[in-house]
């Protein structure tokens, strides 16, 4: 099993992704620099968090045109698994691999806190090791995580059950109080139509080691591991 972690100038969660993938996917992990044209036979590609290209113009807007993204788009088009976390989610939206966009938090504040997120579906390659309705505590660290889409796109996402993670209160209730950034429908993470591309604002890769007191992020990696093991 081979995992690639794409690194842009300004990525800063790349090592967290690398480490989590290395420990939980049980295979080779390699970095792919943004100028490279080869994902080197990766089975899964991570777009990590950070501030690619300084988030100039819009978060993800310039990263989306970096050479490696051509490969990521081709890989996704062939059904390859792609996970974008935080800035990676913004890049996926800018690239059109996921619908909608992430704008400035409604509070205007950068939020670096733990939030609660409900797993909406477990019949996906990214969430099979969670329980449906399970509430995870995951860290967020972003200023632009406010998910927006036009009414039609939003209705489609909901109708096709492509909202995978939703901000909630610890009880699992979907409320404004549980929504850290103003995202429409409390959306924290969505999947593409085919089910091979996931984007989410929270950072599961930061909570995989018991020494840090929270392992709620492990399920995502365990699910990917299962999906890839099943595919071969």
């Amino acid at each position: 099993m081979r995992a690639a972690v794409v690194t842009f100038p300004g990525s800063n969660c790349d090592y967290d992704c690398y480490k989590a993938a290395q420990e939980l996917l049980g295979g080779d992990v390699h970095y792919v620099w943004h100028r490279e044209h080869d994902l080197r036979a990766a089975d899964v590609v991570f777009l990590p968090g950070g501030f690619a290209y300084g988030d100039y113009l819009r978060a993800g807007a310039i990263a989306r045109f970096s050479p490696v993204m051509r490969e990521v788009m081709a890989f996704a088009a062939e059904g390859g698994m792609v996970v974008g976390v935080c800035n990676g989610f913004q890049v996926l939206c800018e690239a059109g691999l996921l619908p909608g966009a992430l704008i400035r938090n409604a509070s205007l504040q950068f939020r670096g806190i733990d939030v609660y997120v409900r797993v909406e579906r477990t019949d996906t390659a990214f969430t099979s090791e969670y329980a449906r309705g399970q509430v995870l505590r995951l860290p967020i660290a972003h200023g632009e995580g406010n998910y927006v889409a036009d009414a039609e796109t939003l209705a489609r996402l909901e109708g096709e059950n492509r909202v995978i993670f939703r901000y909630v209160e610890p009880s699992g209730a979907v409320t404004d109080a549980g929504n850290p950034n103003g995202s429409m429908n409390n959306i924290a993470g969505i999947m593409n139509e085919r089910g091979n591309v996931l984007g989410l604002m929270p950072h599961p890769e930061r909570v995989v080691d018991p020494i840090l007191g929270n392992t709620d992020g492990r399920g995502l990696f365990a699910s990917i591991h299962e999906a890839l093991a099943g595919a071969r």
Partner: protein
């Protein structure tokens, strides 16, 4: 070919929440400008562009907006071309 000064004004789409605009509207009202209504905050991009005509410059800039300068999901844009 001639050189054109092009201005692109990018604003949050009508109807879309503009958290910055809202915050500034509140601040202005607090500063005793009670007449302040809706505030929208966007971005102004100025660029020099060589093109065959003003029309060609506009068309090129429109393509730039659609590809990179504006996000069609969240932003509207408006192009001005001066020679």
């Amino acid at each position: 070919m001639s050189d054109f000064d092009v201005e692109v004004r990018i604003t949050p789409r009508a109807g879309l929440l503009d958290p910055q605009g809202n915050a500034v509207a509140h601040a202005l009202r607090a500063l005793e400008f009670p007449g302040v209504g809706d505030v929208r905050i966007g971005r102004l991009i100025r660029l020099r562009l060589s093109a065959d005509s003003a029309d060609a410059a506009r068309q090129q800039t429109d393509r730039m907006c659609r590809k990179l300068l504006a996000n069609p999901v969240t932003e509207d844009y408006d192009i001005r071309v001066e020679s």
